[in-house]
Symmetry: D2
Amino acid sequence: MQFRSDNAGPVHPRVLAALGQANSGYAPSYGTDALTARVTERVRALFEAPEAAVYLVPTGTSANALLLATMARPWQAIFSHEVAHVAVDECGAPVFFADGATLITVGGKSGKMSPEALQTAMSATGNGDVHAIQPGPATITQITETGQIYQLSEIRALYEVTRGHGQKLHMDGSRFSNAIAASGATPAEMTWKSGVSALSFGGTKNGLMGAECAILFDPECAWEFELRRKRSAHLFSKHRYLAAQFDAYLTDDLWLETARAANANMARLVDGLSRIPGVGIIDRPAANMLYLTMSRRAHRAAFEAGALYELAPFYAPLDGDMDEILKARLVCDWSLEDAEIDRFIALVAQIA
Amino acid sequence: MQFRSDNAGPVHPRVLAALGQANSGYAPSYGTDALTARVTERVRALFEAPEAAVYLVPTGTSANALLLATMARPWQAIFSHEVAHVAVDECGAPVFFADGATLITVGGKSGKMSPEALQTAMSATGNGDVHAIQPGPATITQITETGQIYQLSEIRALYEVTRGHGQKLHMDGSRFSNAIAASGATPAEMTWKSGVSALSFGGTKNGLMGAECAILFDPECAWEFELRRKRSAHLFSKHRYLAAQFDAYLTDDLWLETARAANANMARLVDGLSRIPGVGIIDRPAANMLYLTMSRRAHRAAFEAGALYELAPFYAPLDGDMDEILKARLVCDWSLEDAEIDRFIALVAQIA
Amino acid sequence: MQFRSDNAGPVHPRVLAALGQANSGYAPSYGTDALTARVTERVRALFEAPEAAVYLVPTGTSANALLLATMARPWQAIFSHEVAHVAVDECGAPVFFADGATLITVGGKSGKMSPEALQTAMSATGNGDVHAIQPGPATITQITETGQIYQLSEIRALYEVTRGHGQKLHMDGSRFSNAIAASGATPAEMTWKSGVSALSFGGTKNGLMGAECAILFDPECAWEFELRRKRSAHLFSKHRYLAAQFDAYLTDDLWLETARAANANMARLVDGLSRIPGVGIIDRPAANMLYLTMSRRAHRAAFEAGALYELAPFYAPLDGDMDEILKARLVCDWSLEDAEIDRFIALVAQIA
Amino acid sequence: MQFRSDNAGPVHPRVLAALGQANSGYAPSYGTDALTARVTERVRALFEAPEAAVYLVPTGTSANALLLATMARPWQAIFSHEVAHVAVDECGAPVFFADGATLITVGGKSGKMSPEALQTAMSATGNGDVHAIQPGPATITQITETGQIYQLSEIRALYEVTRGHGQKLHMDGSRFSNAIAASGATPAEMTWKSGVSALSFGGTKNGLMGAECAILFDPECAWEFELRRKRSAHLFSKHRYLAAQFDAYLTDDLWLETARAANANMARLVDGLSRIPGVGIIDRPAANMLYLTMSRRAHRAAFEAGALYELAPFYAPLDGDMDEILKARLVCDWSLEDAEIDRFIALVAQIA
């Protein structure tokens, strides 16, 4: 009963097989190999962006931080939602990579940045005043950290705000595939056609071993990105093994297949849990992440029965008033089996 | 005829197999899994260092830069040899990770830092003078960038210099295995028993896919290292796949087996080339890296016949006086076959 | 009718005279002169802190940023009030000086950080979680950016919160003198006796030309401070002229004399304005800074009549609905004459 | 007998008087005052550069570090002579301000960077190789740290090297006035007409209290400079007092008057010393800085008799073989009196 994270699950067998196939003989290092070139072309085709600069890096944080550093200057603010991964889960990586830029967090429902709040925050910076932090790029997470999807019109509205301040929009797409699978939009529609300048296109949370794709739809700063990647020690020497993962990911739409599986798992989970009295569903999720509420007693019983998921915040104490309602976060990996989901639903039905 | 680099070769089959075995079911993320714990213990045992802090990172540059950042403060100098990887091949990574520390390069024969030159350089900093950069750690590369091995007494002599300034010694062991295989010293003797405080224990250049081990023999700054690793985006979520690589590496001494193979390949190569008039061997190598000289004409002929290696510097022009003597660097991967080496020797005998 | 800022006023004549007296012959540079040594001792005596490390720097921002950088590490958060100078008026200086530390802002009435809000913010960081920013020092402004004074008990309450997280408390005392003049507390009581570890003791806003005193009550990091000061180009070569300013400041309690004058000016101003219908006083000020409200019409008329002060925010448009109520900030310099204050009160009485 | 440094001398009386004159009434802060505007225009006129961006900062290190940071990016090298102030006397300030750029030192006689050495150093970086530090700006010191003057043709030759790599040339003119006074070139000829993009125009070492002028002849990055100045805490609130110093400096050519006085003092000193057996003159100085050699015995006797100057290096021990020849540095302030110089010459004649 594994609902902790989609980074606790296994690598998809086709990805593992691709690593094996890539392992014959010698290949030029540091991304000059043929497999990397092929992945670049496949990503450009998928996003209908023949000029895009495409880079592979090992972690989601490196994709986010490198792209944001390339988009911001040290005296600028980077704007994110207050629950964004870049703000709360990266130990200050965007600030470090961007040479001391300031991260300013902005509110909004369901983990989505509100255009009004962004406008207010951006207007409070700069204005030609040398004493103030200057406005810089904004970053949004798709799907959000609370499992919701930005609609295309919502993305565009945020883009318009950034554009009004001469700035750009980044998308942390660590679960981008789940958003595409759930929404039916094309990758191009969800990104550059809606005003997104740069995307962290996630793989690790969706069946890869450790590979993310950083895409600059505006390739003007491509060389700067490459220097920052090297300088931050994220340029792999045996680069073909990053490329092999993404090549498998893009073959026969594996990225969509695993994302759809994860979303379907979540739908099954929510469907079951929502019928159980004592379980509260917060913001019925659009993709593979769920926040729910139950009593402390029920959480304890679930954990004792072997269920694995995180309280929110993760350090909420398991001791205390047994009737107190505690929040929890559940994520469905693509690899979860129906039987496991049903077993968990049955367990909760019994204890909630 | 692949002599370009030991990062152009394949992953060892036992490493690939280990990745497959690690791929069953779920595992806690971010290094809290059982396989990572096992690797930590195995590394401690190998180095006879039960208290050592042991971390896995994906690249050699990340191991070096994270360890040096943990050992230095921004107003200090980090001392390296003038041909060291940290000085010429990392795009300033140590400076970036160490928040603006200064890298000062020091001379010495065969890529080895001379204790006298280090003493002079360290004495030229600090001295209680607030206007000057202050002395910080020194870093040496084992085997050196020119294929030589620091003897234990040489390591200790450098350690004594650093200690005299209240500073520590780091070893960039991206080819540490080759040094152990060639010298017969134990890992403990070559590191902490000779005064080394922190080691980048390489894997990627010796048969792994992309995994290096950063070891702090003095674990006082372990938590700082962990924060720096996260902050620089080098903490893997699916950490078990880094651990699986190192677990295979340490099983049945695979790390020594591949290192010995690479060294033997180089010995065969040097043995053959050194008999050929017109080929100059610079510093007969102790491990798997060779610098030689031939005429431009011979290099061109070798490249045209399909040989792959790098001129030194790599951008030396192939056009010009055909009799001019040019330097080149050749590296032997563990996976090179004798027949390929012999084929190259025969080719050079013909053209030199 | 100058109410713009206490940095728009003149230097006190006794300070100017002291500069002239310091200008005879030669003096050792970089702070090794006798006048600097005397100032150090006088500051220690004033604060009853014989071990304190005492440094002179030219700007308030340099005092704040250098002290905070010395108290924080790059992966930590620095906590300030959301209207604090360090957060909104220093273009990210604390982040720059602290090598990429994160500034987190906290709420609280009248520009005062609330202990509960600080506790919440500090508890949301760290907790042994490597993914999160770690807790670092807190900084408070005395008097606050809205003209209020932290009571000693309030300072101590904030100190207790920081101490509970193993962190320290800094005081931005750019108007510290005004707080002492208004409250009757001793400098020691308002700082280290209430838990303050480091103080930026302002001079420039209180009659000096450009000199601030950075005090580390815990001198453990004194050498680090000195290196950071030099490295950030704030160590003056002709240091005696910084020292001369502070020496005059501390002679015959000039610092208190000018602060009392400024506070008295403000009391006169508030007394007059508070009787005028149409003028709203926000948080009756304890020292020399006032926030008030009037209609846009009244502000326009005041500006046209030659009054100088700032709207809040400073970029609020002067065009628009003439009945709209706009906020403004007024500061009284020590050098303001009663006649000028009365002239302004009369003007406002006429137009409000 | 004060030959320690030109920052140990007094402020020129006309500068002190100007501070007094500037001290009447109120003035807008942060450089928006009329006096600052006037200085900007006077500097532009002096340099025949009507578009130049002109900024006042308090220290030579801040002028250098801010200009270099504006000219370089973090992954670039800044090239200086190996004895340059930026390399040995600023505790890493250029690296700090330039967000981790690398400082690479280059050789050349008499403290002058040789174009060939610069060409070699710049060619060893970059070349489209992402692994290497990229080439950035070069900086030269006029007059050099050893008292010599770059001829216009020498400046141009260095400029051509930087231009060949797409980079710019900075001049650390902390003693620029002495160079102009000695050479007869115009300020424009010695800077932008010879290829200099940015100048640190010194004042503090030539009679001011603490004011330097940073000039960007190419104003494209002016706003970036302003943000970096604020962010590094070098934007003065009571800016008129910086401006008053420079205004006095430029009035009736005071800057040339003091520089000529210092140079004449040095000529008198060298003239006297060069006749004394046992005194070696290293590189007969063109302006106000001298390196000489004498026996340890003679240095000790001079110090005991009250002479003040620095050994080179400053920490050379005064104990040891009395016949050993030690180097020393002597600087003549503008304010030195002939009688003091003659007294010192007579002393040396007696003891050398």
